[in-house]
Protein backbone atom coordinates (compact mmCIF):
# COMPACT_ATOMS: atom_id res chain seq x y z
CA UNK A 1 0.00 0.00 0.00
CA UNK A 2 1.25 3.47 -0.78
CA UNK A 3 -0.33 6.60 0.46
CA UNK A 4 0.88 9.98 -0.48
CA UNK A 5 -0.31 13.50 0.00
CA UNK A 6 1.08 16.79 -1.15
CA UNK A 7 0.71 19.75 1.15
CA UNK A 8 2.73 22.94 0.42
CA UNK A 9 6.34 21.88 0.65
CA UNK A 10 6.50 18.39 2.05
CA UNK A 11 5.61 14.95 0.92
CA UNK A 12 5.13 11.79 3.01
CA UNK A 13 5.31 8.39 1.38
CA UNK A 14 4.49 5.35 3.43
CA UNK A 15 5.66 1.99 2.21
CA UNK A 16 4.53 -1.05 4.09
CA UNK A 17 7.22 -3.63 4.61
CA UNK A 18 6.83 -7.16 5.87
CA UNK A 19 4.13 -7.67 8.47
CA UNK A 20 3.56 -4.60 10.61
CA UNK A 21 6.80 -2.86 9.77
CA UNK A 22 6.37 0.49 8.14
CA UNK A 23 8.86 2.81 6.51
CA UNK A 24 8.01 6.48 6.16
CA UNK A 25 9.87 8.50 3.56
CA UNK A 26 9.69 12.22 4.19
CA UNK A 27 10.57 14.74 1.51
CA UNK A 28 10.92 18.50 1.69
CA UNK A 29 10.84 20.84 4.64
CA UNK A 30 9.96 19.84 8.17
CA UNK A 31 9.46 23.24 9.79
CA UNK A 32 7.00 25.50 11.58
CA UNK A 33 4.56 25.62 8.66
CA UNK A 34 4.53 21.93 7.81
CA UNK A 35 4.58 20.51 11.35
CA UNK A 36 0.87 21.00 12.07
CA UNK A 37 -0.50 19.35 8.88
CA UNK A 38 2.08 16.56 9.17
CA UNK A 39 1.14 15.76 12.74
CA UNK A 40 -2.58 15.64 12.04
CA UNK A 41 -2.03 13.53 8.91
CA UNK A 42 0.27 11.03 10.60
CA UNK A 43 -1.92 10.78 13.68
CA UNK A 44 -4.84 9.87 11.45
CA UNK A 45 -2.76 7.34 9.59
CA UNK A 46 -1.45 5.55 12.65
CA UNK A 47 -4.55 5.87 14.81
CA UNK A 48 -6.21 2.58 13.94
CA UNK A 49 -3.32 0.17 13.68
CA UNK A 50 -0.11 1.21 15.39
CA UNK A 51 2.64 -0.76 13.64
CA UNK A 52 5.22 -2.98 15.32
CA UNK A 53 7.98 -0.83 14.00
CA UNK A 54 8.30 2.45 12.17
CA UNK A 55 11.36 3.65 10.32
CA UNK A 56 11.50 7.28 9.26
CA UNK A 57 13.73 7.91 6.30
CA UNK A 58 15.10 11.46 6.40
CA UNK A 59 17.23 11.24 3.28
CA UNK A 60 15.18 13.71 1.28
CA UNK A 61 14.47 16.19 4.08
CA UNK A 62 15.82 19.52 2.88
CA UNK A 63 15.29 21.44 6.09
CA UNK A 64 14.61 20.39 9.65
CA UNK A 65 14.04 22.60 12.67
CA UNK A 66 12.68 21.94 16.13
CA UNK A 67 9.10 21.88 14.83
CA UNK A 68 10.20 19.09 12.50
CA UNK A 69 11.75 17.32 15.46
CA UNK A 70 8.40 17.70 17.20
CA UNK A 71 6.81 15.62 14.41
CA UNK A 72 9.39 12.89 15.01
CA UNK A 73 8.79 13.06 18.77
CA UNK A 74 5.06 12.63 18.13
CA UNK A 75 5.69 9.52 16.03
CA UNK A 76 8.03 8.13 18.65
CA UNK A 77 5.39 8.62 21.32
CA UNK A 78 2.69 6.92 19.26
CA UNK A 79 4.98 3.95 18.68
CA UNK A 80 6.01 3.63 22.30
CA UNK A 81 2.35 3.64 23.37
CA UNK A 82 1.77 0.59 21.16
CA UNK A 83 5.03 -1.00 22.31
CA UNK A 84 6.44 -0.60 18.81
CA UNK A 85 9.99 0.30 17.80
CA UNK A 86 10.97 3.60 16.27
CA UNK A 87 13.98 4.12 14.02
CA UNK A 88 15.49 7.04 12.14
CA UNK A 89 17.63 6.51 9.06
CA UNK A 90 19.66 8.63 6.69
CA UNK A 91 19.88 11.70 8.93
CA UNK A 92 22.78 13.64 7.50
CA UNK A 93 24.42 17.03 7.63
CA UNK A 94 22.29 19.81 9.07
CA UNK A 95 19.48 17.41 9.90
CA UNK A 96 21.84 15.32 12.01
CA UNK A 97 23.15 18.46 13.74
CA UNK A 98 19.68 19.61 14.71
CA UNK A 99 18.81 16.16 16.05
CA UNK A 100 22.02 16.15 18.09
CA UNK A 101 21.45 19.69 19.34
CA UNK A 102 18.03 18.76 20.66
CA UNK A 103 19.34 15.39 21.93
CA UNK A 104 16.67 13.53 19.98
CA UNK A 105 17.35 10.03 21.39
CA UNK A 106 16.42 11.23 24.88
CA UNK A 107 13.28 13.06 23.75
CA UNK A 108 10.51 13.31 24.88
CA UNK A 109 11.48 11.87 28.29
CA UNK A 110 14.15 14.52 28.86
CA UNK A 111 11.60 17.32 28.61
CA UNK A 112 9.08 15.68 30.90
CA UNK A 113 8.19 18.15 33.59
CA UNK A 114 7.80 17.76 37.27
CA UNK A 115 4.07 18.33 37.52
CA UNK A 116 3.01 20.72 40.20
CA UNK A 117 1.16 18.67 42.79
CA UNK A 118 -2.39 20.01 43.00
CA UNK A 119 -2.84 21.16 46.57
CA UNK A 120 -5.56 19.58 48.67
CA UNK A 121 -8.40 21.53 50.23
CA UNK A 122 -6.65 21.48 53.63
CA UNK A 123 -3.46 22.93 52.21
CA UNK A 124 -5.38 25.65 50.44
CA UNK A 125 -7.43 26.39 53.54
CA UNK A 126 -4.24 26.64 55.55
CA UNK A 127 -2.60 28.88 52.95
CA UNK A 128 -5.67 31.08 52.88
CA UNK A 129 -5.72 31.41 56.66
CA UNK A 130 -2.02 32.21 56.84
CA UNK A 131 -2.55 34.73 54.04
CA UNK A 132 -5.35 36.50 55.91
CA UNK A 133 -3.38 36.55 59.17
CA UNK A 134 -0.24 37.96 57.55
CA UNK A 135 -2.38 40.50 55.70
CA UNK A 136 -3.88 41.61 59.03
CA UNK A 137 -0.43 41.80 60.60
CA UNK A 138 0.81 43.97 57.76
CA UNK A 139 -2.32 46.13 57.97
CA UNK A 140 -1.74 46.82 61.64
CA UNK A 141 1.99 47.40 61.32
CA UNK A 142 1.39 49.75 58.40
CA UNK A 143 -1.18 51.67 60.45
CA UNK A 144 1.42 51.93 63.20
CA UNK A 145 4.09 53.13 60.77
CA UNK A 146 1.74 55.76 59.36
CA UNK A 147 0.79 57.02 62.83
CA UNK A 148 4.45 57.20 63.86
CA UNK A 149 5.32 59.08 60.69
CA UNK A 150 2.44 61.51 61.23
CA UNK A 151 3.56 62.16 64.83
CA UNK A 152 7.10 62.69 63.61
CA UNK A 153 5.87 65.28 61.11
CA UNK A 154 3.79 66.92 63.84
CA UNK A 155 6.95 67.58 65.86
CA UNK A 156 9.22 68.17 62.88
CA UNK A 157 6.96 70.02 60.43
CA UNK A 158 9.97 71.02 58.35
CA UNK A 159 10.61 67.45 57.31
CA UNK A 160 7.24 67.30 55.54
CA UNK A 161 7.76 67.24 51.78
CA UNK A 162 5.85 70.42 50.96
CA UNK A 163 6.03 70.23 47.18
CA UNK A 164 4.76 66.67 47.13
CA UNK A 165 1.95 67.59 49.49
CA UNK A 166 0.90 70.52 47.32
CA UNK A 167 0.95 68.54 44.11
CA UNK A 168 -1.02 65.74 45.80
CA UNK A 169 -3.53 68.38 46.97
CA UNK A 170 -3.89 69.60 43.43
CA UNK A 171 -4.36 66.15 41.95
CA UNK A 172 -6.70 64.94 44.70
CA UNK A 173 -8.61 68.17 45.27
CA UNK A 174 -8.51 70.78 42.55
CA UNK A 175 -8.59 68.29 39.69
CA UNK A 176 -11.52 66.45 41.30
CA UNK A 177 -13.65 69.59 41.75
CA UNK A 178 -15.44 69.51 38.36
CA UNK A 179 -16.59 65.91 38.71
CA UNK A 180 -17.50 66.27 42.40
CA UNK A 181 -19.43 69.46 41.56
CA UNK A 182 -21.31 67.93 38.66
CA UNK A 183 -22.27 64.75 40.47
CA UNK A 184 -23.38 66.64 43.60
CA UNK A 185 -25.38 69.13 41.54
CA UNK A 186 -27.21 66.30 39.79
CA UNK A 187 -27.69 64.49 43.09
CA UNK A 188 -29.30 67.61 44.62
CA UNK A 189 -31.48 67.94 41.55
CA UNK A 190 -32.65 64.34 41.73
CA UNK A 191 -33.27 64.43 45.48
CA UNK A 192 -35.32 67.61 45.25
CA UNK A 193 -37.27 66.30 42.30
CA UNK A 194 -38.07 62.91 43.86
CA UNK A 195 -39.04 64.34 47.25
CA UNK A 196 -41.11 67.12 45.71
CA UNK A 197 -43.46 64.57 44.16
CA UNK A 198 -44.38 63.36 47.66
CA UNK A 199 -44.20 66.65 49.58
CA UNK A 200 -46.36 68.47 47.01
CA UNK A 201 -49.32 66.29 48.03
CA UNK A 202 -49.16 67.76 51.55
CA UNK A 203 -48.46 71.28 50.40
CA UNK A 204 -45.11 71.30 52.12
CA UNK A 205 -42.94 72.20 49.13
CA UNK A 206 -40.68 74.28 51.32
CA UNK A 207 -39.50 71.19 53.20
CA UNK A 208 -37.67 70.07 50.03
CA UNK A 209 -35.02 72.63 50.96
CA UNK A 210 -34.62 71.12 54.44
CA UNK A 211 -34.45 67.60 53.09
CA UNK A 212 -31.78 68.33 50.53
CA UNK A 213 -29.69 70.39 52.95
CA UNK A 214 -29.81 67.92 55.84
CA UNK A 215 -29.28 64.80 53.75
CA UNK A 216 -26.35 66.30 51.90
CA UNK A 217 -24.54 68.00 54.75
CA UNK A 218 -24.84 65.16 57.25
CA UNK A 219 -24.63 62.06 55.07
CA UNK A 220 -24.50 62.16 51.32
CA UNK A 221 -22.05 65.04 50.86
CA UNK A 222 -19.20 63.40 52.80
CA UNK A 223 -19.98 59.92 51.45
CA UNK A 224 -20.33 60.87 47.77
CA UNK A 225 -17.18 62.98 47.87
CA UNK A 226 -15.24 60.23 49.62
CA UNK A 227 -16.37 57.61 47.11
CA UNK A 228 -15.32 59.80 44.18
CA UNK A 229 -11.95 60.50 45.80
CA UNK A 230 -11.47 56.78 46.53
CA UNK A 231 -12.11 56.02 42.86
CA UNK A 232 -9.88 58.79 41.57
CA UNK A 233 -7.07 59.12 44.06
CA UNK A 234 -7.06 55.98 46.22
CA UNK A 235 -6.50 53.95 43.07
CA UNK A 236 -3.87 56.39 41.82
CA UNK A 237 -1.92 56.14 45.11
CA UNK A 238 -1.95 52.33 44.91
CA UNK A 239 -0.84 52.32 41.26
CA UNK A 240 1.92 54.88 41.84
CA UNK A 241 3.43 53.19 44.89
CA UNK A 242 2.91 49.73 43.39
CA UNK A 243 4.81 50.66 40.23
CA UNK A 244 7.56 52.22 42.33
CA UNK A 245 7.69 49.00 44.31
CA UNK A 246 8.28 46.76 41.27
CA UNK A 247 10.84 49.08 39.73
CA UNK A 248 12.75 49.02 43.06
CA UNK A 249 12.27 52.76 43.61
CA UNK A 250 10.94 52.09 47.10
CA UNK A 251 14.03 50.03 47.90
CA UNK A 252 16.20 52.86 46.55
CA UNK A 253 14.48 55.35 48.87
CA UNK A 254 15.03 53.01 51.80
CA UNK A 255 18.74 52.57 51.12
CA UNK A 256 19.17 56.33 50.66
CA UNK A 257 18.01 56.62 54.24
CA UNK A 258 14.48 57.85 53.60
CA UNK A 259 11.59 56.27 55.41
CA UNK A 260 9.30 55.25 52.52
CA UNK A 261 6.25 55.81 54.72
CA UNK A 262 7.30 59.34 55.59
CA UNK A 263 8.44 60.09 52.06
CA UNK A 264 5.52 58.66 50.08
CA UNK A 265 2.57 58.18 52.39
CA UNK A 266 2.51 61.19 54.71
CA UNK A 267 2.24 63.85 51.98
CA UNK A 268 -0.62 61.93 50.39
CA UNK A 269 -2.50 61.44 53.67
CA UNK A 270 -2.10 65.07 54.75
CA UNK A 271 -3.07 66.36 51.32
CA UNK A 272 -6.14 64.16 51.18
CA UNK A 273 -7.20 65.08 54.71
CA UNK A 274 -7.03 68.78 53.81
CA UNK A 275 -8.80 68.67 50.47
CA UNK A 276 -11.56 66.12 51.04
CA UNK A 277 -13.42 68.26 53.67
CA UNK A 278 -13.10 71.21 51.28
CA UNK A 279 -14.44 69.11 48.42
CA UNK A 280 -17.30 68.09 50.72
CA UNK A 281 -18.13 71.75 51.30
CA UNK A 282 -18.27 72.31 47.55
CA UNK A 283 -20.30 69.15 47.14
CA UNK A 284 -22.87 70.49 49.66
CA UNK A 285 -23.08 73.83 47.90
CA UNK A 286 -23.54 72.30 44.47
CA UNK A 287 -26.22 69.93 45.73
CA UNK A 288 -28.11 72.75 47.42
CA UNK A 289 -27.96 74.79 44.22
CA UNK A 290 -29.30 71.76 42.35
CA UNK A 291 -32.20 71.58 44.78
CA UNK A 292 -32.68 75.34 44.47
CA UNK A 293 -33.16 75.09 40.73
CA UNK A 294 -35.86 72.44 41.13
CA UNK A 295 -37.46 74.51 43.88
CA UNK A 296 -37.57 77.68 41.79
CA UNK A 297 -38.50 76.16 38.45
CA UNK A 298 -40.94 73.44 39.51
CA UNK A 299 -42.20 74.19 43.00
CA UNK A 300 -42.89 77.91 42.69
CA UNK A 301 -40.56 78.75 45.58
CA UNK A 302 -38.51 81.91 45.56
CA UNK A 303 -34.75 81.57 45.76
CA UNK A 304 -34.81 83.64 48.96
CA UNK A 305 -37.35 81.41 50.67
CA UNK A 306 -35.45 78.28 49.63
CA UNK A 307 -32.12 79.55 50.98
CA UNK A 308 -33.71 80.90 54.18
CA UNK A 309 -35.28 77.49 54.82
CA UNK A 310 -31.90 75.82 54.14
CA UNK A 311 -30.12 78.07 56.63
CA UNK A 312 -32.91 77.62 59.17
CA UNK A 313 -32.61 73.83 58.96
CA UNK A 314 -28.84 73.52 59.19
CA UNK A 315 -26.93 73.93 62.42
CA UNK A 316 -23.21 74.48 62.77
CA UNK A 317 -22.84 71.08 64.42
CA UNK A 318 -24.34 69.36 61.35
CA UNK A 319 -21.75 71.03 59.19
CA UNK A 320 -18.85 70.23 61.52
CA UNK A 321 -19.99 66.63 61.94
CA UNK A 322 -19.96 66.26 58.16
CA UNK A 323 -16.48 67.76 57.96
CA UNK A 324 -15.20 65.52 60.73
CA UNK A 325 -16.53 62.45 58.95
CA UNK A 326 -15.03 63.46 55.63
CA UNK A 327 -11.67 63.99 57.33
CA UNK A 328 -11.80 60.44 58.68
CA UNK A 329 -12.87 59.10 55.28
CA UNK A 330 -9.95 60.96 53.69
CA UNK A 331 -7.50 59.31 56.06
CA UNK A 332 -8.93 55.86 55.34
CA UNK A 333 -8.85 56.35 51.55
CA UNK A 334 -5.24 57.52 51.46
CA UNK A 335 -4.13 54.94 54.02
CA UNK A 336 -5.67 51.94 52.25
CA UNK A 337 -4.53 53.22 48.83
CA UNK A 338 -0.90 53.46 49.97
CA UNK A 339 -1.14 50.15 51.83
CA UNK A 340 -2.30 48.31 48.73
CA UNK A 341 0.51 49.94 46.78
CA UNK A 342 3.11 48.65 49.24
CA UNK A 343 1.61 45.16 49.08
CA UNK A 344 2.41 44.84 45.36
CA UNK A 345 4.67 41.88 44.59
CA UNK A 346 5.74 40.60 41.20
CA UNK A 347 4.55 42.29 38.07
CA UNK A 348 2.04 44.37 36.17
CA UNK A 349 -1.02 42.29 37.05
CA UNK A 350 -0.25 42.75 40.74
CA UNK A 351 -0.46 46.53 40.27
CA UNK A 352 -3.88 46.12 38.67
CA UNK A 353 -5.00 43.96 41.56
CA UNK A 354 -3.74 46.52 44.10
CA UNK A 355 -5.59 49.34 42.32
CA UNK A 356 -8.86 47.44 42.31
CA UNK A 357 -8.38 46.44 45.91
CA UNK A 358 -7.62 50.05 46.92
CA UNK A 359 -10.97 51.24 45.55
CA UNK A 360 -13.02 48.32 46.85
CA UNK A 361 -11.58 48.37 50.36
CA UNK A 362 -11.66 52.17 50.34
CA UNK A 363 -15.40 52.24 49.66
CA UNK A 364 -15.99 49.45 52.18
CA UNK A 365 -14.09 51.36 54.88
CA UNK A 366 -16.05 54.53 54.10
CA UNK A 367 -19.40 52.81 54.52
CA UNK A 368 -18.26 50.84 57.58
CA UNK A 369 -16.97 53.90 59.39
CA UNK A 370 -20.08 55.85 58.43
CA UNK A 371 -22.20 53.14 60.03
CA UNK A 372 -20.07 53.34 63.19
CA UNK A 373 -20.48 57.12 63.26
CA UNK A 374 -24.25 56.75 62.89
CA UNK A 375 -24.37 54.51 65.98
CA UNK A 376 -22.09 56.86 67.96
CA UNK A 377 -24.27 59.83 67.07
CA UNK A 378 -27.39 57.91 68.09
CA UNK A 379 -26.18 57.49 71.69
CA UNK A 380 -24.13 60.61 72.00
CA UNK A 381 -25.99 63.30 70.08
Amino acid sequence: MRTSKTVPSYHCVVSKGEGERITLHVEGRMDVTTAAPMISELRLLLKNSPPLSLTVDLERVTYLDDFGVLVLVELKQILSRGNGNFYLTNAQGKVREILDLLKFPTLPESVATIRKVPSTIFVRLGEGTIGVISDMKYLISFLGAVCLALFFILFHPKSLRGEDTLSAMQRTGVDALPIVGLISFLLGLIMAFMSSVQLKQFGTNILVASLVALAMVRELGPIMTAIIVAGRSGSAFAAEIGTMKISEEVDALFTMGFDPTRFLVVPKIIATMIVVPLLTLFSNMFAISGGLIVGVLMLDLTANAYLAQTLHTLTLSDLLWGFFKSGVFAFLIAWIGCLRGFQVRGGASSVGHATTSAVVSGIFLIILSDAIFAVILQYWG
Binding site: V32, A35, I39, S40, L102, S110, V111, T113, R345
Partner: protein, 252 residues
Protein backbone atom coordinates in the same frame (compact mmCIF):
# COMPACT_ATOMS: atom_id res chain seq x y z
CA UNK B 1 30.46 35.04 -2.97
CA UNK B 2 27.59 37.48 -3.26
CA UNK B 3 25.57 37.27 -0.07
CA UNK B 4 21.83 37.64 0.09
CA UNK B 5 20.73 40.95 1.64
CA UNK B 6 17.99 40.39 4.21
CA UNK B 7 17.71 43.85 5.75
CA UNK B 8 18.50 47.02 3.89
CA UNK B 9 18.51 50.45 5.50
CA UNK B 10 18.56 53.41 3.15
CA UNK B 11 19.15 57.03 4.19
CA UNK B 12 17.42 56.56 7.51
CA UNK B 13 16.97 59.60 9.72
CA UNK B 14 16.17 59.10 13.39
CA UNK B 15 14.96 62.06 15.36
CA UNK B 16 14.05 62.70 18.96
CA UNK B 17 11.78 65.75 18.92
CA UNK B 18 13.87 68.33 17.05
CA UNK B 19 17.15 66.64 17.86
CA UNK B 20 18.54 64.48 15.04
CA UNK B 21 20.23 61.35 16.38
CA UNK B 22 21.05 59.47 13.18
CA UNK B 23 21.47 61.39 9.97
CA UNK B 24 20.85 59.54 6.69
CA UNK B 25 22.51 56.24 7.53
CA UNK B 26 22.56 53.27 5.15
CA UNK B 27 23.71 49.70 5.63
CA UNK B 28 22.82 46.11 4.83
CA UNK B 29 22.44 42.95 6.86
CA UNK B 30 23.20 39.70 5.08
CA UNK B 31 21.32 36.46 5.53
CA UNK B 32 22.76 34.18 8.18
CA UNK B 33 25.23 36.64 9.66
CA UNK B 34 25.57 38.00 13.17
CA UNK B 35 25.72 41.76 12.91
CA UNK B 36 26.55 43.73 16.03
CA UNK B 37 25.68 47.40 16.31
CA UNK B 38 28.06 49.09 18.75
CA UNK B 39 28.75 52.55 20.02
CA UNK B 40 28.84 54.66 23.16
CA UNK B 41 25.75 55.15 25.28
CA UNK B 42 23.46 57.69 23.69
CA UNK B 43 24.71 57.23 20.13
CA UNK B 44 21.34 55.93 18.97
CA UNK B 45 21.93 52.17 18.98
CA UNK B 46 18.64 51.27 20.62
CA UNK B 47 16.82 53.92 18.60
CA UNK B 48 18.15 52.34 15.41
CA UNK B 49 17.02 48.91 16.60
CA UNK B 50 13.52 50.23 17.27
CA UNK B 51 13.43 51.63 13.75
CA UNK B 52 14.48 48.25 12.36
CA UNK B 53 11.62 46.45 14.10
CA UNK B 54 9.04 49.07 13.20
CA UNK B 55 8.38 50.42 16.69
CA UNK B 56 9.49 53.90 15.61
CA UNK B 57 8.62 55.56 12.34
CA UNK B 58 11.43 57.54 10.76
CA UNK B 59 10.77 61.04 9.39
CA UNK B 60 12.56 59.91 6.23
CA UNK B 61 14.41 56.91 4.87
CA UNK B 62 13.62 53.27 4.25
CA UNK B 63 13.97 50.02 6.15
CA UNK B 64 13.54 47.00 3.89
CA UNK B 65 13.16 43.57 5.48
CA UNK B 66 13.32 40.87 2.81
CA UNK B 67 12.42 43.53 0.29
CA UNK B 68 9.39 44.90 2.14
CA UNK B 69 9.67 48.54 3.19
CA UNK B 70 8.29 48.54 6.73
CA UNK B 71 8.18 52.33 6.90
CA UNK B 72 5.54 52.57 4.20
CA UNK B 73 3.86 49.16 3.92
CA UNK B 74 0.30 48.57 5.07
CA UNK B 75 -0.83 46.74 8.20
CA UNK B 76 -1.24 43.34 6.50
CA UNK B 77 2.24 43.39 4.97
CA UNK B 78 3.71 44.59 8.25
CA UNK B 79 2.10 41.66 10.09
CA UNK B 80 3.79 39.30 7.62
CA UNK B 81 7.14 40.94 8.33
CA UNK B 82 6.54 40.62 12.07
CA UNK B 83 6.16 36.86 11.67
CA UNK B 84 9.70 36.72 10.30
CA UNK B 85 11.32 38.52 13.21
CA UNK B 86 11.82 37.89 16.89
CA UNK B 87 13.00 40.44 19.43
CA UNK B 88 14.77 39.96 22.74
CA UNK B 89 14.19 43.10 24.78
CA UNK B 90 16.64 44.55 27.24
CA UNK B 91 14.38 43.93 30.23
CA UNK B 92 13.23 40.54 28.88
CA UNK B 93 9.62 41.80 28.63
CA UNK B 94 8.10 38.49 29.66
CA UNK B 95 4.42 38.89 30.50
CA UNK B 96 4.52 38.91 34.28
CA UNK B 97 1.10 37.39 34.85
CA UNK B 98 1.97 34.27 32.83
CA UNK B 99 4.28 31.35 33.56
CA UNK B 100 7.33 30.73 31.38
CA UNK B 101 5.56 28.02 29.42
CA UNK B 102 2.53 30.24 28.82
CA UNK B 103 4.82 33.02 27.64
CA UNK B 104 6.55 30.75 25.13
CA UNK B 105 3.32 29.03 24.09
CA UNK B 106 1.60 32.34 23.29
CA UNK B 107 2.96 32.86 19.74
CA UNK B 108 2.85 29.12 18.97
CA UNK B 109 -0.84 28.93 19.91
CA UNK B 110 -1.64 32.06 17.94
CA UNK B 111 0.19 31.30 14.70
CA UNK B 112 0.26 27.52 14.26
CA UNK B 113 -2.42 24.83 14.08
CA UNK B 114 -0.53 22.39 16.26
CA UNK B 115 -2.67 20.30 18.61
CA UNK B 116 -2.65 21.24 22.28
CA UNK B 117 -0.41 18.43 23.55
CA UNK B 118 2.11 19.00 20.75
CA UNK B 119 2.37 22.65 21.75
CA UNK B 120 3.12 21.47 25.29
CA UNK B 121 5.96 19.28 24.05
CA UNK B 122 7.22 22.05 21.77
CA UNK B 123 7.30 24.57 24.61
CA UNK B 124 9.26 22.15 26.77
CA UNK B 125 11.73 21.56 23.94
CA UNK B 126 12.17 25.30 23.47
CA UNK B 127 12.78 25.82 27.17
CA UNK B 128 15.14 22.83 27.33
CA UNK B 129 17.10 24.33 24.44
CA UNK B 130 17.76 27.44 26.52
CA UNK B 131 18.55 25.29 29.58
CA UNK B 132 15.33 26.08 31.39
CA UNK B 133 13.88 22.57 31.40
CA UNK B 134 11.83 22.07 34.57
CA UNK B 135 11.01 25.76 35.02
CA UNK B 136 7.82 25.65 32.94
CA UNK B 137 5.53 26.60 35.78
CA UNK B 138 7.59 29.44 37.21
CA UNK B 139 6.47 33.04 36.97
CA UNK B 140 8.96 35.58 35.59
CA UNK B 141 9.17 37.19 39.04
CA UNK B 142 10.35 33.92 40.56
CA UNK B 143 13.51 33.46 38.45
CA UNK B 144 16.81 35.29 38.05
CA UNK B 145 17.72 37.90 35.45
CA UNK B 146 19.79 35.51 33.35
CA UNK B 147 17.00 32.95 33.35
CA UNK B 148 14.52 35.63 32.31
CA UNK B 149 16.76 36.55 29.39
CA UNK B 150 16.94 32.93 28.28
CA UNK B 151 13.18 32.48 28.64
CA UNK B 152 12.65 35.65 26.61
CA UNK B 153 14.98 34.21 23.98
CA UNK B 154 12.91 31.04 23.90
CA UNK B 155 9.82 33.18 23.35
CA UNK B 156 11.51 35.34 20.69
CA UNK B 157 12.45 32.22 18.71
CA UNK B 158 9.23 30.36 19.38
CA UNK B 159 8.32 30.37 15.69
CA UNK B 160 11.92 30.09 14.44
CA UNK B 161 12.01 33.57 12.90
CA UNK B 162 14.50 34.29 10.12
CA UNK B 163 15.83 37.34 11.94
CA UNK B 164 16.41 37.79 15.66
CA UNK B 165 17.00 41.21 17.18
CA UNK B 166 18.73 41.59 20.54
CA UNK B 167 18.72 44.78 22.59
CA UNK B 168 21.67 44.67 25.01
CA UNK B 169 21.48 40.90 25.61
CA UNK B 170 24.22 40.89 28.24
CA UNK B 171 22.99 43.91 30.20
CA UNK B 172 22.68 43.01 33.86
CA UNK B 173 24.09 39.50 33.48
CA UNK B 174 27.07 37.99 35.25
CA UNK B 175 30.01 36.96 33.01
CA UNK B 176 29.03 33.29 33.05
CA UNK B 177 25.38 33.87 32.16
CA UNK B 178 26.52 36.35 29.55
CA UNK B 179 28.92 33.84 28.00
CA UNK B 180 26.22 31.19 28.12
CA UNK B 181 23.87 33.50 26.23
CA UNK B 182 26.61 34.22 23.67
CA UNK B 183 27.05 30.48 23.13
CA UNK B 184 23.33 30.08 22.70
CA UNK B 185 23.31 32.86 20.10
CA UNK B 186 26.14 31.19 18.17
CA UNK B 187 24.50 27.75 18.38
CA UNK B 188 21.17 29.03 17.11
CA UNK B 189 22.81 30.99 14.34
CA UNK B 190 24.84 28.01 13.21
CA UNK B 191 22.13 25.38 13.41
CA UNK B 192 19.06 27.28 12.32
CA UNK B 193 20.77 29.83 10.10
CA UNK B 194 19.01 32.65 11.91
CA UNK B 195 20.23 36.13 11.03
CA UNK B 196 21.06 38.07 14.20
CA UNK B 197 21.16 41.81 14.77
CA UNK B 198 22.59 42.59 18.19
CA UNK B 199 22.88 45.94 19.92
CA UNK B 200 25.50 45.86 22.64
CA UNK B 201 28.61 47.51 23.98
CA UNK B 202 29.90 44.45 25.80
CA UNK B 203 33.33 43.92 24.23
CA UNK B 204 33.61 40.27 25.25
CA UNK B 205 30.32 39.47 23.53
CA UNK B 206 31.26 41.48 20.46
CA UNK B 207 34.50 39.56 19.95
CA UNK B 208 32.81 36.25 20.74
CA UNK B 209 29.80 36.42 18.46
CA UNK B 210 30.13 39.15 15.83
CA UNK B 211 30.72 38.32 12.19
CA UNK B 212 30.62 42.00 11.41
CA UNK B 213 30.12 45.17 13.44
CA UNK B 214 28.72 48.58 12.67
CA UNK B 215 29.90 51.35 14.93
CA UNK B 216 27.71 54.40 15.50
CA UNK B 217 28.90 57.70 16.86
CA UNK B 218 26.92 60.47 18.48
CA UNK B 219 29.00 63.31 17.06
CA UNK B 220 29.02 61.96 13.51
CA UNK B 221 25.32 61.03 13.86
CA UNK B 222 26.01 57.95 11.82
CA UNK B 223 28.25 55.00 11.09
CA UNK B 224 31.94 55.65 11.64
CA UNK B 225 33.27 52.12 11.18
CA UNK B 226 32.18 48.82 9.74
CA UNK B 227 33.87 45.45 9.53
CA UNK B 228 35.33 42.59 11.50
CA UNK B 229 35.76 43.56 15.19
CA UNK B 230 39.29 42.15 15.44
CA UNK B 231 40.41 44.05 12.38
CA UNK B 232 38.79 47.25 13.60
CA UNK B 233 40.55 46.89 16.94
CA UNK B 234 43.97 46.49 15.37
CA UNK B 235 43.85 48.23 12.04
CA UNK B 236 41.19 50.94 12.07
CA UNK B 237 42.40 54.28 10.80
CA UNK B 238 40.08 56.05 13.21
CA UNK B 239 41.83 56.33 16.62
CA UNK B 240 38.48 56.56 18.42
CA UNK B 241 37.41 53.21 16.97
CA UNK B 242 40.67 51.58 18.07
CA UNK B 243 40.26 53.05 21.54
CA UNK B 244 36.70 51.76 21.79
CA UNK B 245 37.66 48.21 20.87
CA UNK B 246 40.77 48.32 23.05
CA UNK B 247 38.78 49.71 25.95
CA UNK B 248 40.95 52.80 26.40
CA UNK B 249 39.74 56.16 27.60
CA UNK B 250 39.42 58.81 24.94
CA UNK B 251 41.20 62.10 25.38
CA UNK B 252 39.65 64.87 23.40
Amino acid sequence: MKQHVIIQVKNLIARFHEHIILDRISFEVYQGEILVIVGESGCGKSTLLKHLIGLYHPPSGQVLIEGEDITTCDEVEFQKVLRKIGVLYQGSALLSSMTLSENVALPIQEYTDLPHDSIDTMVKMKLTLVNLGGYEHYLPSEISGGMKKRAALARAMALNPTILFFDEPSAGLDPLSSAELDNLIITINRNLGTTMVIVTHELHSIFAVAHRVIMLDARAKGIIAEGNPHELRDKSTNPFVRQFFNRQLTHH
